[in-house]
Subunit: 363 residues, 2 copies
C-alpha cells in the first residue's frame, strides 16, 4: 500500500522482505529477500537508499542505531521508534511528558501482579510483554495471581496495566516531518473483535469536540516530544468517566488509518512517505462525511474469488484492498472501505462486504 | 498507473517493456524487456498470462490475431483494437454504424486532396496517416495541394478530413466488459495546446444535457458495435452549429480520463482492469463537483524537484502524478489533478502547479 502511494509521487522502492511471497514483494520492482534481524543484511540493503522506513516495528533498535551511525537516514529514527517497540519505555516516556495512560508498572512475577492489583482496582489486570506483542498477541487479561504465570515465561519484562473501563477505543493518527510540520487526521473509532481491529469509523461518531481536540493534541504532543518522523498512530481508550488514555503507539501507517486511502484527501501512506522524505505534507481532511473500514479476515474458504466478484457486483462503490496473502482463518488478508453521507448505510455496506468475503455472510 | 490501480484489486502484472527505464518498468515487479513488434517475443511473454492488455495501440494487429489463435486472451481483441490503430478502418466502421464524423475519405495524392477540398468547404483540409499518429504526430493541416506532399511520403494511406469548425473538444470515456456491462464517465472538456492535450475539465462546463447524453450514447454504441473490452475514449468535436462529431478513438486508459484517478469513485485504470478481467465494473461517477487535470510537460529545467516541493507546499490538496521520465522539453512527464466546488479555483490551482513544474510560472 505504501508502494501504491509512492507511484504517483515518483518514489521508487527497494524492499527488504522476509520471503518473495510477502504482500509488498509481489508488487515492488526491487526486492531483496533477507532477515531484518541481521545487521549485515540491513547494512547491505540500506546502501544507496535515500531513506529507510518500515511497515512494522520489529527491526531491532540496536541495528537501527548501527545503521544511523553508518550515516543511513532512518525515519522514524531508533530513538523515536523504541517507544513503539518497547511498551515499558513508551509508558515511562508518556508519564514523563504528562500524557494520561492507564495505571501501570513493570511487574516481576505473579505475586507482584497481585500487589499491583491491590494497589488499585484489583483484578482483572492486563499483562503485556514489553516487546513482541501484536494484534492481541503478547497480551493477557488475568483474574488472579495464579493466572499470571504465562506472561513471565518468555523472559521479557512484563508490564501490568489496569483494565480500563472504556466505552470505546479511538485512534488519533498524525504525521510529522523532520522539520516539524505535522498534520492530524480526524480522530476515529476503532472496534476490536478478539483483540484484532475489526471496524474503523472516520470520524468517530458523536465524539465531543473537546475530547477530539484533546486526543489530537495528545497525538501531536507525542509526535513532537518523541521526535517521531512519519506516521504515528495513537490508540486510545475513551473511558466511561470521560477521559482519554493512551493504549498503544505505532510509528508507521496503521490499520486505524486505512480508511484514509479512499476517505481522505491524502492517505496515511502518501503522508508517511512525504514525511520520511521531508516533502511538504498533504491535506489529511476527509473527503466524505463518513468513511468506514472493515478488515477482511480469512475464513474457512481459501478461494475468495467468487465472493470478490459478488461484492463488486453488489456494490459498485465498494473499495476493496486485497493484500495477496494466502487465506488462513483469522488472518488479515485485506480490507474494504466505504464512504457516504449515511453512517448506517456506509457501515452496513462495509460489514456486508467483509463478512461475505470471509464467508460469515452468505446472502 | 494501471499497476497502481491493480494493487488493491490483487491483480499482479507481467510487463512487456521497451526498456528497463520505461515508467511502468520502474514500478512493476515482473518486467520483460522486449520488442512488442516481434511475434516470438509476444508469444513468449503471453505464456501464463490470464489476459493480455495494452497501454498503447501499437502492437501489430496481425500479431494480436496470432496470439488469439494460440489461445491467448487479448482484451481489447484485435478486431476491436484495429479501429484505434487504423483511422481508415475506424472511419469506415463509424460510417457504417451511423456515428457522425467529420467529412472524410482516403486520398491518393495531393491532387486528390484538392479534389476532396473542392467536394466540400475547400481548404484548409486535415490530412492524417491512417496508422502511427499520436499527440499531433501524423497529422497535417494543409491550405493547398502544394502543401499536401509530406503526408504521402511515409507510404501509408492518407485520410483527408474537413477541418471542423468546433467550439471545443470533448471526450466521452466508457468502459465495457466481455459480457457487455458498460459504465460511462461524465463527458469532459479537453483543451489541446499544439496538438497535445493540456487541460481536462470534468464534467465539461455548460454542456447542454442533450449533447452530453448524445456523446455518451455515441461512446456506448461504439463500444458495443466494435465489441470493445476495456476502456474506450472517444475524442469529440462540439461544432459551432451544435453537433457532436467523433475525432479519434483510444482503447486503453486515456489522458482525457486521468482526472478520474482522484475525481471519480472508480478510476479509468481500475475499471479498465476490471473490464479486461471480466470483473464487475466500478462506479464511474465523480466524487467532486469539478475535477481538473493538467498535463505536466517537461520544460527547460531537467531537475523538477525544487518545483515539486514548492507545489506540494503551496497546495496541500494538489494530487501530483509523476511518471518517472527524464525531463525533455514538451514531453509529458506527469499530470496534476485538483478538485473542488469552485471551477475557477480548481482550474487555477491545476494550471499553476503544472506551469510551475514546467518552469513557465515562477511565482
Amino acid at each position: 500500500m505504501t508502494h501504491e502511494a509512492g507511484i504517483p509521487l515518483g518514489i521508487r522502492f527497494k524492499l527488504l522482505s522476509d520471503t518473495p511471497q510477502d504482500s509488498a514483494a509481489q508488487v515492488v520492482n526491487n526486492v531483496v529477500v533477507g532477515d531484518y534481524r541481521d545487521l549485515d543484511t540491513l547494512r547491505a540493503f540500506a546502501r544507496g537508499c535515500d531513506v529507510v522506513t518500515f511497515d512494522h516495528e520489529h527491526v531491532p533498535t540496536e541495528h537501527l542505531r548501527a545503521l544511523q551511525a553508518d550515516g543511513v537516514v532512518v525515519r522514524p529514527g531508533p530513538d523515536a521508534l523504541v517507544h513503539a517497540q518497547d511498551k515499558g519505555v513508551m509508558r515511562a516516556k508518556l508519564d514523563a511528558i504528562g500524557i494520561p495512560c492507564p495505571r501501570h508498572r513493570i511487574v516481576s512475577d505473579p505475586a507482584d501482579v497481585a500487589a499491583f492489583a491491590a494497589e488499585g482496582e484489583g483484578f482483572p489486570v492486563v499483562l503485556k510483554t514489553v516487546r513482541g506483542g501484536y494484534d492481541g498477541k503478547g497480551v493477557w487479561v488475568v483474574n488472579s495471581a495464579e493466572e499470571a504465570a504465562d506472561p513471565f515465561k518468555a523472559g521479557v519484562p512484563v508490564l501490568a496495566e489496569e483494565k480500563v473501563d472504556f466505552v470505546r477505543e479511538l485512534a488519533a493518527n498524525v504525521v510529522r516531518s523532520p522539520h516539524g510540520q505535522a498534520v492530524a487526521y480526524p480522530v476515529v473509532e476503532s472496534r476490536q473483535v478478539n483483540g484484532v481491529c475489526d471496524t474503523v469509523i472516520a470520524p468517530a461518531p458523536d465524539l465531543e469536540e473537546h475530547l477530539a481536540l484533546q486526543a489530537t493534541e495528545m497525538a501531536l504532543t507525542i509526535a513532537k516530544e518523541l521526535d517521531v518522523v512519519g506516521h504515528l498512530a495513537v490508540e486510545l481508550f475513551q473511558t466511561r468517566d470521560g477521559r482519554i488514555l493512551v493504549n498503544e503507539l505505532a510509528m508507521r501507517p496503521h490499520n486505524s488509518g486505512h480508511w484514509s486511502m479512499d476517505g481522505a484527501v491524502t492517505s496515511q501512506f502518501a503522508n508517511h512517505l512525504r514525511a520520511v522524505l521531508d516533502l511538504p505534507l498533504g491535506d489529511p481532511r476527509p473527503r466524505a462525511k463518513w468513511t468506514v473500514m472493515v478488515n477482511v479476515l480469512g475464513g474457512d474458504f481459501p478461494d475468495m474469488y467468487p465472493a470478490y466478484l459478488h461484492c463488486m457486483a453488489r456494490d459498485p462503490q465498494l473499495k476493496i484492498h486485497m493484500y495477496g496473502k494466502d487465506v488462513k482463518p483469522g488472518r488479515k488478508v485485506g480490507h474494504v472501505n466505504t464512504y457516504g453521507d449515511d453512517l448506517d448505510d456506509v457501515l452496513e455496506r462495509a460489514r456486508h462486504a467483509a463478512g461475505y468475503l470471509r464467508g460469515t455472510i452468505t446472502e
